[in-house]
């Protein structure tokens, strides 16, 4: 018998098969064209491999053929839910490089639009995440309230989502006469609605069971993976560009940078809800004090940046957005690189999703708030 039984196989050596499942480019909860290749064992996720590039449009290459006033209009399309902040990044870079001082009015207007768009982006995040977790009603509530902000945008900029508003030198149009009144009415209304959002989802026990303790991102990992924005702040990584490197009208106002400590999905959720409150406070501080003045400074016809390299950072709804321009003195940039928050955030998911179930992966993706064109550019 000894010759036949070569060795006794222990259960450790009999591995059950892992199988690959595609959360494909078309999927209701990846919020865009993202393909996640999951290696599953039963329900447990062993590996998440993102395949990106389905919406890569070569924006960085395109900018090499454009002049500086034309570049902000391309940046809208990257993270379309924070389009004004993207515009602002490029405009600030050009203005700082040429050492042009924009009027105070422009700074106030830009910041108010930033915060309004942050609110709109977080509202869309809330309703889409609620839908991902199964609370389908949340989708309608969030969108209904977001319509007010989009109407305000449309009156002033002409567009609801991709605002195309900030340009080097200022903004494209002056604010509409109704702007201040409508924003104030909206703030009043939204302060009553935001507690409803909390009542519907944040306090619900099913929701808490789905998100508490799920997908923990530690602070060291957040820094190591470069995860910024509310996702990073929930882990304790203090990275708010509005606080550390203030721009536009942020030096004039007081607001808190909310930091979490657990780094789980629930903390990320809670932090975004808190950020919505902070945005309301910021807008309230600014809306009554918009100084009079021009809405733009006259820039030269052909803008040429001095030779060298420039890096400008802003805080979008998703995290730190950076624009890096290498200029050789000509009217087109030599190289433009956009440091998008989604790119760094996405690749941290593999690290934190190991060992959780598919349903938890959906909760993690929901709280990371990714916009895919931001990743692919």
């Amino acid at each position: 018998m000894a010759e036949i039984i070569e060795k006794i196989i222990t259960t450790d050596e009999i591995k059950t098969d892992e199988y690959l499942v595609n959360m494909g480019p078309q999927h209701p909860s990846t919020h865009g064209v993202l393909r996640l290749l999951l290696k599953l064992e039963g329900e447990i996720v062993h590996n998440v491999e993102p395949h990106v590039g389905y919406i890569h449009s070569g924006i960085e290459k395109m900018t090499e053929a454009l002049s500086y006033p034309q570049i902000p209009h391309l940046t809208d399309r990257m993270d379309y839910l924070s389009s004004h902040m993207n515009n602002e990044a490029v405009s600030l870079l050009v203005e700082n490089a040429l050492q042009v001082e924009v009027p105070e009015r422009v700074k106030y207007i830009r910041t108010i639009f930033d915060e309004l768009q942050r609110l709109a982006s977080h509202q869309l995040w809330w309703c889409a995440s609620g839908m991902d977790l199964g609370a389908l009603t949340a989708f309608f509530y969030g969108l209904r309230d977001r319509e007010d902000i989009l109407d305000i945008f449309e009156e002033t900029c002409g567009a609801r989502l991709t605002l195309n508003y900030s340009v080097p030198g200022g903004v494209m149009f002056d604010i509409h006469p109704n702007f201040q009144r409508k924003v104030k009415a909206f703030i009043k209304k939204f302060r009553k609605i935001l507690p409803e959002y909390d009542k519907l989802l944040t306090g619900n026990i099913i929701f808490q069971n789905r998100t508490r303790g799920v997908g923990i991102l530690t602070k060291e990992d957040a820094i190591a993976y470069g995860v910024t924005g509310p996702t990073g702040r929930a882990s304790g990584f203090s990275c708010d560009v509005r606080k550390h490197h203030p721009y536009s009208a942020y030096p004039y106002i007081k607001f808190d940078e909310k930091l979490g400590s657990d780094g789980d999905s629930f903390m990320r959720w809670k932090l975004r809800m808190d950020e919505m409150w902070e945005s309301l406070n910021i807008i309230e501080q600014l809306i009554d004090n918009i100084p009079e003045g021009d809405y733009a400074v006259k820039m030269k016809g052909v803008i040429k940046l001095p030779e060298g390299e420039y890096y400008q950072r802003v805080e979008t709804a998703r995290g730190e957005f950076g624009v890096y321009v290498v200029s050789d003195g000509k009217k087109n940039p030599y190289r433009v690189k956009f440091r998008s928050p989604g790119f760094s955030n996405l690749f941290a998911i593999n690290h934190i999703a190991k060992g959780w179930k598919i349903a938890d992966l959906v909760a993690i993706m929901a709280t990371f708030d990714l916009v895919i064109p931001d990743i692919d550019r």
Partner: protein
């Protein structure tokens, strides 16, 4: 540390590297064979403590390729730009910094995808956005009659 102190410390530690104050932040250009050791030192030195790799980009120059690292320290709040040039443009290769900052894994894949710079010891150097038969679009000499319209 302020920019001046940073420049001073780096110059004294690396006499042959080229350190200067750029338009916004200090810049240092290191050579490719000391890259990894230098980066490791940037992270582990407690006075420098650059633990956050903000952005890693590739730039195409006529005779070489350049990779630019934007580094920040969350502890001391200083910022540094590190540049490294490859030897030549035909076979650009550099050491990876993935083991120092994990986020670099994907930035380097993107640079490889769009510019063709290979990274030694990279855990998984594959193309990120494009498929394997595509050229390297961000290069200045990239010609593509179908997708790029030149005036």
């Amino acid at each position: 540390m302020t920019n001046e102190q940073l420049i001073e410390q780096l110059t004294s530690a690396n006499p042959i590297a080229d350190v200067k104050q750029g338009i916004q932040y200090p810049e240092i250009t290191v050579s490719f064979n000391t890259l990894h050791a230098f980066m490791q030192n940037l992270k582990s030195d407690s006075n420098l403590a650059f633990d956050y790799l903000v952005c890693q980009s590739g730039v195409d120059y006529p005779t070489y390729m350049q990779v630019v690292y934007h580094l920040e320290s969350t502890l001391h709040k200083h910022f540094l730009i590190v540049k490294v040039n490859t030897e030549n443009r035909e076979t650009p290769a550099l050491d990876t910094v993935t083991d120092i900052w994990p986020t670099a894994e994907f930035h380097e894949r993107e640079i490889y995808d769009l510019l063709g710079v290979k990274f030694n010891n990279h855990p998984d150097l594959r193309r990120l956005f494009l498929d394997d038969t595509w050229g390297f679009p961000l290069r200045k000499d990239y010609k593509d009659d179908i997708h790029v319209v030149e005036r």
